[in-house]
């Protein structure tokens, strides 16, 4: 969810302005540092790897410091270093009180951050930790 012909900084600045974030330039720079792209802030997004694009997209999602975040397979395309960075970022957000709802397939560093897990099967809830199911079993697709 970023424009290929804009730089990472321009992308964040644009969305910060649209979301009426105070000091959009400063916020964009702060988030680019946080996602480890400060050195590539002037590079066009089209020159980025998939993992770097993912970082820009996550930075964009965090622009207005949301209290609820929705992620669909957030670690897709990320290298191991990227996954570790994402896990750290999500852990920080979770601990700061942000609600994170994400869809994942199987166990991973990201999935292990979950405080509650629900397994869906054909659109119905097949297992839920709140109903006593085991978190590890849900994430590993074992019999919960």
């Amino acid at each position: 969810m970023a424009y290929d012909e804009l730089s990472a900084e321009e992308n964040l600045w644009l969305f910060a302005r649209l979301q009426q974030v105070a000091n959009p330039g400063e916020r964009a720079a702060e988030l680019l540092r946080a996602v480890g792209l400060a050195e590539r802030k002037d590079s066009l997004v089209r020159t980025f790897s998939r993992g770097m694009r993912q970082r820009v997209a996550i930075a964009r999602a965090l622009l207005h410091a949301p209290s609820v975040l929705l992620f669909d397979e957030p670690s897709t395309g990320l290298d191991p270093e990227g996954v570790a960075w994402l896990a750290g970022t999500l852990r920080g957000l979770r601990d700061a009180g942000c609600t994170i709802l994400m869809s994942v397939h199987g166990e991973s560093e990201i999935a292990s951050l979950a405080t509650r897990a629900v397994r869906l099967d054909a659109g119905s809830v097949a297992a839920d930790t709140r109903a006593g199911a085991n978190l590890h079993a849900i994430l590993s697709f074992a019999d919960a």
């Binding site: 969810m1 012909e5 644009l14 969305f15 302005r17 649209l18 066009l44």
Partner: protein
């Protein structure tokens, strides 16, 4: 306030994107140039003939060039799903349309103004003395093309046969605009040039009606 601020931010994005890729401007300039040059060599027109069919030829070229230019307008937003990001960030979707409309009209007008001297030289039609009036007609015509084209581009971007859909919807809808623009241009290229206010009023009315419709119903056009 938020509408104007969002529109200006998005308009800046449209300009930056286009001036970096030069995708739309290059396509339209080359298309119009090919049409104007080809017709000039095929018919070897005199000044009298040029005044008779020149305006129609010009506006037909502008219309087809506009449909080429408007096609990727919303398709570009689908590649990285940036339209969803915009919808989540912009409270009034009219800002998205307004920015795209302003950018499309500007690109189209730039192309037309660039092509007018080529037309004047190849078809032996003096345009210098009526140039400001001609720019006014070009602006009103381009705005009409831009408003309808931007709206229909949003519709066709979701359609299955999207490449076919835009020209199919655009061409019949723009017939009145094309007639008014051609008539107003023909009156300006006449040996006794005149600014036809009746056709200008028609163009203004067309632009206002479609702009109002876009403002009222634009939100629904972005729904999948």
């Amino acid at each position: 306030m938020s509408l104007m601020s969002n529109t200006s931010a998005l308009f800046g994005k449209e300009l930056r994107t286009e001036f970096r890729s030069r995708e739309l401007l290059t396509t339209t300039v080359i298309f119009i140039l090919v049409v104007v040059v080809l017709f000039s060599f095929t018919f070897d027109p005199t000044a009298t003939e040029s005044r008779r069919f020149g305006p129609g030829l010009l506006w037909l070229a502008f219309l087809f060039a506009a449909s080429l230019m408007l096609q990727p307008c919303f398709l570009r937003e689908q590649g990285n799903d940036t339209l969803s990001a915009l919808r989540l960030s912009v409270p009034d979707p009219f800002a998205i349309f307004l920015a795209k409309l302003a950018a499309n009209t500007l690109f189209l007008l730039m192309t037309e103004i660039l092509m007018i001297p080529v037309f004047a030289i190849l078809y032996n039609v003096p345009v210098l003395q009526v140039f400001p009036q001609l720019v006014l007609v070009l602006f009103l015509g381009s705005l009409g093309l831009g408003v309808t084209g931007t709206a229909l581009s949003a519709i066709s971007a979701h359609a299955r046969m999207r490449e076919l859909m835009l020209p199919l919807l655009l061409l019949p809808l723009l017939t009145p605009l094309l007639i008014a623009s051609t008539e107003a241009t023909a009156a300006l290229l006449d040996p006794k040039p005149a600014l036809r206010w009746d056709w200008l009023a028609f163009l203004i009315a067309f632009d206002v009606i479609f702009l109002t419709a876009l403002w009222l119903f634009g939100e629904y056009l972005l729904e999948e």
